[in-house]
């Protein structure tokens, strides 16, 4: 191999592997070596799945040798958030309670990417059970921002975002419950997509909040993200909430004209953002207008209640989803005098403070006598938000906002202040509550030389327009010239 595949796009690697310019094994080995060399500083990975990766890469090479179709992602290295069940490989959710737990099955999305020839490089770090916005809540390590190791990569899919931003892998999978793909994508200067709820099977995603969770792609560019979404989307009989719809070809949207598409800048979401972020969103809007889109400001008043509703609904579901981690069947078990004490000791030792906080919040919100005032009312707000978006989408095809109110903050800056940490997701949460698709596209660097993300939102199943607009922004966005830590 006379050239390096590090930093190449996924589609480029797949095409070079397919034509035999480079073997999948060489690609895998090169990326694994890079990670082994540099990840001790970044902490993107909880574990490297070298054996699996090399086995998968060899299989791709064999298929090519035998003239079989190696798949859309032939030989493309990919990082997997460690809340996706990997058969026989530790799946921890970055929690002590699942230390060393090895699922007996693969998540549906993994079956899909393996079939398409992707090569799983490792399991990436996250905030414990995906609860957090900085990856500081991992019980194992804190992931750093590849552009500045003193700053956070965002979260909860911080490991996956950092892996792609650091060129450790061209692709990664994350999960997004309130912004956990888009916010770290923005903070790390890459593309991150949360698809329409139900577009990607959740089977094998260790649940945080079932009605909000959705798996989605990280990539360096919109085309790669569309390619990965194409591979992982589609109905799954194992997930009752997965949709049975004909999906458009997302990849063909990249570079398609945007003439006449109506773009609304959400007033409420731009107001609270840092000036540099606001400036970037308006600049992106300007790019779209110059490319033929109709751009205007739009008020979506109910989005301001998103955060409050989210912090009742998500913890409520989490309190139930996380009940099974009780030390009886798998995971951490601290033996007590009796059954109750075993529960209490195992869970006290196994869960970190943020997870406990949310379990407490959720348990309270569902308690008899409080249900109507908290959970019940939050569901009403959720309906209001859906209606508010529906009104906006009567006049607009996509909506624009910041992905996060600020660029990446210093490690430790918000760790002691949960409320200010929660505010990191103020722009991303409303689309989770509505079940709509949204994505983050990089738009240059801010004053401290950290990346800024612009969020493109669309109504349910509006991915085609979303990708089209995101690609149009990407094509004119200022390049991120800064090098990552190891370059």
């Amino acid at each position: 191999m006379s050239f390096s595949t590090v930093g190449m796009s996924a589609s480029e690697i797949a095409s070079k592997v397919r034509t035999g310019e480079v073997s999948a094994l060489e690609v895998a080995q090169e990326h694994i070596d890079l990670i082994k060399q540099h990840d001790s500083l970044l902490n993107a990975y909880l574990h490297i799945t070298e054996d699996l990766a090399l086995r998968q890469a060899k299989r791709v090479d064999e298929k090519i040798k035998n003239g079989e179709d190696p798949g859309l992602l032939a030989g493309v290295p990919i990082g997997l958030k460690d809340n996706l069940a990997t058969r026989g490989i530790a799946t921890t959710c970055a929690s002590q309670i699942l230390k060393d737990w090895k699922p007996p099955y693969d998540a549906t999305v993994l079956e899909k990417i393996y079939k398409s020839g992707a090569v799983a490089i490792g399991k990436t770090n996250l905030d414990e059970f995906a609860m957090g916005s900085s990856t500081e809540n991992s019980s194992y390590v804190t992931t750093k921002n590849p552009y500045d190791l003193s700053r956070v990569p965002g979260g909860s899919s911080g490991g996956s975002a950092a892996s792609v931003a650091a060129r450790f892998t061209p692709l990664a999978l994350g999960s997004d419950t309130g912004g956990s793909i888009r916010q770290p994508a923005a903070l790390c200067g890459i593309v991150g997509v949360k698809p329409t709820y139900g577009m990607v099977s959740r089977y094998g995603l260790l649940a945080f909040a079932s009605s909000l969770d959705q798996i989605g792609p990280f990539a360096h560019n919109v085309a790669d993200a569309a390619l990965l979404l194409k591979v992982i989307s589609g109905h799954d009989d194992k997930d009752s909430t997965s949709l049975s719809v004909d999906l458009p070809d997302f990849t063909s949207q990249v570079g398609a004209p945007i003439d006449g598409l109506r773009v609304g800048i959400v007033t409420e979401l731009i107001e609270g953002a840092a000036p540099e972020v606001r400036k970037a969103v308006l600049a992106a809007a300007g790019v779209l207008a110059a490319s033929g889109a109709k751009v205007d400001h739009v008020s979506v008043p109910a989005v301001t209640y998103g955060l409050s509703a989210y912090y009742l609904i998500a913890p409520a579901e989490a309190s139930s989803n996380l009940a099974r981690y009780d030390g009886v069947r798998y995971g951490l078990r601290i033996e007590g005098q009796d059954m109750n004490e075993t529960y209490v000791l195992s869970r006290t030792k196994g869960f970190g403070p943020e997870v406990k906080r949310r379990i407490m919040l959720g348990t309270f919100a569902l308690s008899s006598g409080y249900y109507d005032a908290y959970y019940g009312r939050a569901q009403k707000v959720r309906t209001m938000i859906i209606n508010s978006f529906a009104q906006a989408y009567e006049n607009f095809d996509v909506l624009l906002s910041p992905t996060a109110p600020t660029t990446a903050f210093e490690i430790g800056a918000k760790a002691q202040d949960p409320l200010s940490m929660y505010l990191s997701d103020v722009c991303t949460i409303p689309t989770n509550l509505a079940g709509h698709p949204a994505m983050s596209v990089p738009y240059g660097l801010g004053e401290n030389e950290m990346p800024i993300g612009v969020q493109v939102m669309a109504p349910a199943l509006g991915e085609a327009n979303m990708f089209r607009i995101a690609a149009a922004i990407e094509s004119k966005a200022p390049a991120i010239t800064r090098k990552v830590f190891w370059q």
Binding site: R202, S320, D326, V328, Y330, M339
Partner: protein, 490 residues
């Protein structure tokens, strides 16, 4: 096995009335579990019939079994319920036999609501509040303590084979007023569940389990007393005993100046008493909320009618069918036998026998007396063999005593009645052999024969008796009588 309702309503303590509502858990007769593809069977090696879904492993998701929903609707239709668009809820509580530490059940908006069931003997209508779908839990075995209970146990074993088995919980209104009514209700409900094809109704295997809510009040009062819930009653006998004990306990408590505390109680079958498991203060807050992993269940009226068309004949229709073979106003005992035949699913057997020419009364009697007593052996008696037996008796070829003996062997061996009758020497003599015996008797008793010929009809019995004696009971009395008349006329 199912015990029959033969006891008359007991005299409860004068001046007091019981108020009973029942929650019956019925395992649905599906091939697979409610939310996964594991087989729905009983008695497999512990923890062999499990998968990531019914073990509630992280990341697994439930997918509803359509057959279970169809059977649930059959139950609802058979109990005259409205079928509504329903949703699932999570019932949250920690217990080792609950793999997810929540149970997927229906809470608000159950699939079947507002039905009723008519009791066949008392004729009373019992309201059905709801019949909802839920998953069963695993099964805990507590070791080292007393009586298999968790208190004092040193360790517990859990078998998750039962986790995720589909159940329908049928909740009655508090309309029942005695333990006998409760028994009659469960017997009829069981019969309905069998008839509509939803359940195998095997109480001894736990496919039908009853929780009884019991309270007492002064006769004439329209207020409800504080209730206690007795959990997990596994037979009709336990049900009546537990209710009778519990109601008496409550009356004695109140009469001695105490008050009933709302609590969940356990019935100890050996001692015949109930004891407290947990009180209202210790009751779980189940934190119900809509199950986000499942979507609502909705049906068009065409779909519901399609399901209705698969429901077999229900007990009330079965009783009508059987009663059709009897006079317009059957005696109380005939009616009771019909109820018994239907509740033990013996009616098809009886009808088949009658339709092939057997005497209705005999067919019903043999089924509800002889077969009912050994109902667990019913499978060895084919309907052709039963019909043949009753016909042999109807035609006088077997006496009542002989028929009972033959039937008892049929239940034991499964052989045909003719074979058994032959081997027991019950085979009736043919007419010519009978005539030979008769001729012998006549020649031995010439004076009796003369008197008979002259009109002493009562001597007929003498001749029949003598022929029977000579033939060692193998002759058919009717044939002898016929021959006597013929010979006198010559």
């Amino acid at each position: 096995m199912v015990e029959l309702s033969t006891v008359k309503p007991e005299e409860f303590i004068p001046g007091w009335e019981m108020v009973i509502g029942l929650e019956v858990h019925c395992e649905l007769k599906t091939q697979t579990k409610l939310f996964c593809g594991c087989r729905n069977t009983f008695g497999a090696e512990p923890n062999t019939n499990v998968c990531p879904v019914c073990l509630g492993l992280p990341g697994s998701l439930p997918v509803i079994n359509e057959k279970a929903v169809e059977l649930a609707i059959r139950i609802g239709l058979s109990l005259n319920c409205e079928i509504i668009e329903s949703i699932f809820h999570r019932k949250n509580y920690f217990y080792p036999d609950m793999p997810k530490d929540y149970q997927i059940s229906q809470y608000e908006r159950a699939i079947n609501e507002n039905g009723f069931l008519d009791l066949p003997i008392t004729g009373k209508q019992v309201r059905i509040e709801r019949a909802h779908i839920e998953e069963d839990t695993g099964k805990s075995t507590h070791l080292g303590g007393e009586g298999g209970r968790i208190h004092g146990a040193t360790h517990s074993l859990v078998d998750y084979n039962r986790a995720g088995i589909p159940l329908v919980e049928i909740v009655s209104a508090p309309d029942l007023r005695s333990s006998d009514e409760a028994r009659e209700y469960v017997a009829e409900l069981r019969s309905i569940l069998l008839s509509c094809g939803a359940s195998d109704g095997k109480m001894e295997e736990g496919s039908l389990r009853v929780d009884a809510n019991v309270s007492v009040r002064r006769s004439g009062s329209d207020q409800f007393g504080t209730r206690c819930e007795i959990k997990n009653l596994n037979s009709l006998r336990s049900l009546t005993r537990a209710i009778a004990y519990e109601a008496r306990r409550q009356v004695e408590l109140i009469e001695s100046g105490g008050a009933v505390i709302q609590q969940t109680r356990h019935f100890n079958e050996d001692q015949g008493i109930t004891s407290a498991m947990r009180s209202k203060e210790e009751a779980y807050d189940y934190r119900y909320f809509p199950e986000p992993d499942l979507v609502p269940l909705g049906f068009t009226s065409e779909q519901i009618e399609e399901i209705r068309s698969h429901i077999g004949m229900l007990p009330a229709q079965r009783r009508q069918r059987l009663l059709g073979f009897f006079e317009a106003s059957p005696t109380e005992s005939t009616y009771d036998q019909v109820v018994t035949a239907v509740s033990l699913s013996l009616d098809d057997l009886v009808v088949a026998a009658i339709e092939s020419g057997a005497d209705p009364r005999l067919a019903l009697a043999r089924a509800t007396n002889e077969i009912a007593g050994e109902i667990e052996r019913i499978d060895s008696v084919s309907s052709t063999n039963f019909a043949a037996l009753v016909k042999l008796e109807s035609e006088g070829k077997l006496s009542a005593t002989q028929a009972k003996k033959v039937l008892s062997q049929m239940l034991e061996t499964g052989s045909s009645p003719l074979e058994i009758a032959k081997s027991l020497g019950f085979e009736a003599l043919d007419e010519s052999a009978t005539e030979e015996f008769l001729d012998q008797v006549i020649s031995n008793s010439p004076s009796e024969w003369e008197r008979f010929k002259l009109g002493e009809d009562q001597l007929s019995g003498f001749f029949v008796g003598q022929v029977m004696k000579l033939s060692r009971g193998k002759a058919d009395g009717k044939v002898v009588t016929g021959l006597l008349q013929a010979k006198r006329a010559i």
